[in-house]
Amino acid sequence: MIWDIEHETMPRADLQRLQQQRLQAQVATVLEKVPFYRQAFQEKGLTPAAVHSLSDLAQLPFTTKEDIRDNYPLGLAAVPPRQTVRLHASSGTTGKAKVVPYTVGDIDLWSEVMARTLAATGVTEDDVVHNAYGYGLFTGGLGFHQGAERIGATVIPMSGGQTKRQIIFLQDLGSTVLCCTPSYALYLAEVAEEMGIDLRATQLKIGIFGAEPWSHRMREEIQSKIGLKAYDIYGLSEIIGPGVSVECEHQDGLHIFEDHFLPEVVEPETGESLPYGERGELVLTTLTKEAMPVIRYRTGDVTSLNPETCACGRTLVRMEKTSGRTDDMLIVRGINVFPSQIESVLLQVKGVEPHYQIVVDRQHTLDDLEVWIEVSEEIFTDEIGRLEALQQELRTELHNVLGISARVKLVEPRSIQRSEGKAKRVIDRREVYG
């Protein structure tokens, strides 16, 4: 089903005209309201008139996640706080959190693209939507909530956790749509089985899974174990949250809502634009955002674009499932985790930086984050209680900083693999891409 026939199926020539108009207005706005962009444009010798056509986009400066962090909390905002009605944020306790503001218009836009997203997967006002994305500063929960509300479906705001209860509700409340991370979907299937409940026998028919990369094999597993059609969805809080792109019923690439978010693919090292079909880093420019418009935001996600009209009728370009990252960011249970965040916790708790290793695995189908720490004599004590207290303290601090729980494992000195003397910091045993 297509929520907004006009914009989702418009001829590409018309779409590009609309994009160009909106791009010019967006560029004019950031130059007028955001000192950061004024400076970035000046450094490149660009004026507001620099954008004559869409092809001029490649001349504009990039925006990176570091730019957002460096301007913490709201240095990139284009409106005063009084016009802001919502803040969301990525994890992090220190000045490093990425804070994203929204105006009333932005929340409306977000609800609209999420309504498109849900409609593309077949959700209607008669559906019962079990929303197990985390509610709060994370954009997943409220993003899906607003979209389902706009469609007029029944929303069950489950948020994360309490898995057994989630399964009882899936069974008892007649939910037809499941929204969560793909790994949590598999975990639900596993726990349901332990409870003697067959999710295939429930009313579930649609699953919308995102916030982390997942493989085709995983899609097949989810579809067969839960008995629903599983759709991939893509988005990031810097741009808006979920609602940037989604698969339609053909499950052949994710349609980007190009009338609001202008995509490019660039070579990660050089930043050179790459043609359609070639793989590189996805770069997004917002076209209609008010509180925090961003120009050429480097997502760090690797994908390629396909501009062919889809069998569903949408003319919107499709991105393939993301196939990797350009940096060391890990996505664990839908949350972005950087090794540097973990390092800062270790340093803060012990005053010394121990040898450590981050091990990510799928345990019982759920992402499992373990931080292994070598017990040096600085840390060691004869008392089991104190070592356990140290584990507990590290767990608490990691949870505080990352927003998800991590297990802390104390290991013997030199037991962590080193290559050329340097410990390998991250071991990711999951098979998430491909």
Partner: protein, 434 residues
């Protein structure tokens, strides 16, 4: 400040006329749409036209929390699923959860009474609202969210947890309003102090605290430590969520939004109505709810009513701060807990019901729930790891069932106090009432 001057300050005669008109419609609706009520009316020899004035209200049957649970999940709903746009629920894994439902009209009503609530506490469009109530099935988070959104304030959907991060945000985002449970407010003050942050120096000026009872002494402590004016908020998900009653700037009782929720006080044992001023159990009848209208709902909360016009100008009756419960329900970190839920978990995990004790305390200003379990020969094993695994299992099952974490402590046989051979099940060391 008053959000809805017309309804909040109308003369009591006009108010009673409005209540009477609405009550007739509500009674006719439940009689027609809800088999449970038709049966309950018939048992009392009543039909939908049985009552002729507000004074006849005591003739109508009560509704209890058991009625909601016995009709799990949606047996008391007055509209079909297609008209429902939201479900919320109290904790509980089994058929014992209380599920409540809302139409689009109910969500609008809820946002409206929450806008009144926040306005009564002094919140305006220019405020920055730090909402640390839990988001999800619990009504606290989304209730305050929709109210603040309706006013047009800037909402930070913090949800619970990650306390250090909450403090960073309170400091860095210029938050002026804090919404959470009163015990969490004190916890924030304590952690802030540890971090060297003085919350009195932030922009915070208003606190709306609810979801659990708190004493006048606690209010003084919160006001002094955080530097804000602390308002009490009352509500329960069966009726609508938060938004049933709130303190105005006079902090002299909580104004009940009587045009939507009709209050009575009854003697808990006999159910006889009590006059204004006398303490007893609060009973509420919804007047405008569509999805789940309730007649004479027994809240279990003890209070008294004062109909005198308030200095703020509101004519709405005031209830005094809750001074106790009529049953063994505990409120821990804003979550309702019945000892029977804990018993179910113990029985389920071990197959036998061990001697246990529930110990509730305030540790570091935060409610702390501990379950002490006597180690009998049936439970004991020499294997240290298996005992730890048992503790972990119990902890995770309790979290699943209750929705909050509880610590499990294994204690020696006969170490739990017994009076006349019977173990005392609950030790509540907090000073929550009075």
């Amino acid at each position: 400040m008053i959000w809805d001057r017309e309804h909040e300050t109308m003369s009591r005669t006009d108010l009673q006329q409005l209540q009477w008109k609405r009550l007739q419609v509500q009674v006719a609706t439940v009689y027609e749409k809800v088999p449970f009520y038709r049966r309950a009316f018939h048992e009392k020899g009543l039909t939908s036209g049985a009552i002729r004035s507000l004074a006849d209200l005591p003739e109508l049957p009560f509704t209890t929390k058991y009625d909601l649970r016995d009709n799990y999940p949606l047996g008391l709903a007055a509209v079909p699923v297609e008209r429902m746009v939201r479900l919320h629920a109290s904790s509980g894994t089994t058929g014992k959860a209380t599920v409540v439902t809302y139409t689009a009209h109910d969500i609008d009503l809820w946002a409206e009474v929450m806008a009144r609530t926040l306005t009564a506490a002094g919140v305006t469009k220019g405020d920055v609202v730090h909402n640390a109530h839990g988001y999800g099935l619990f009504t606290g988070g989304l209730g305050f969210h929709y109210g603040a959104e309706r006013i047009g304030a800037l909402v930070l959907p913090m949800s619970g947890g990650q306390t250090k991060r909450q403090i960073m945000f309170l400091k860095d985002m210029g938050s002026t309003v804090l919404c959470c449970t009163p015990s969490y407010a004190l916890r924030l003050a304590e952690v802030a102090e540890e971090m060297g942050v003085d919350l009195r120096e932030t922009d915070l000026r208003v606190g709306t605290f609810g979801a659990e009872p708190w004493s006048a002494r606690m209010r003084e402590e919160i006001q002094a430590k955080i530097g804000l004016k602390a308002h009490d908020v009352y509500g329960l998900c069966e009726i609508v969520g938060p938004g049933v009653a709130v303190e105005c700037e006079c902090q002299d009782g909580l104004h009940i939004f009587e045009d939507h929720f009709l209050p009575e006080i009854v003697e808990p044992e006999t159910g006889e109505p009590l006059p204004y001023g006398e303490p007893g159990e609060l009973v509420l009848t919804t007047l405008t709810k569509e999805a789940l209208p309730l007649i004479r709902y027994r809240t279990g909360d003890i209070t008294s009513l004062n109909p005198a016009v308030c200095a703020c100008g509101r004519t709405l009756a005031r209830m005094e701060k809750i001074s106790g419960r009529t049953d063994d329900m505990l409120i821990v970190r804003g979550i309702n807990i019945f000892p029977s839920q804990i018993e179910t978990v113990l029985l389920q995990v071990k197959g036998v019901l061990p001697h246990y004790q529930i110990v509730v305390d305030r540790r570091h200003a935060l409610d702390d729930l501990e379950i002490w379990i006597e180690i009998s020969d049936e439970v004991f094993t020499d294997d240290f790891q298996r005992l730890e695994a048992l503790e972990r299992d119990l902890q995770s099952e309790l979290q699943n069932a209750l929705g909050i974490s509880a610590r499990v402590k294994l204690v020696e046989p006969k170490s739990i106090q017994r009076s006349e051979g019977k173990a005392k099940r609950i030790i509540d060391r907090r000073d929550a009432y009075g």
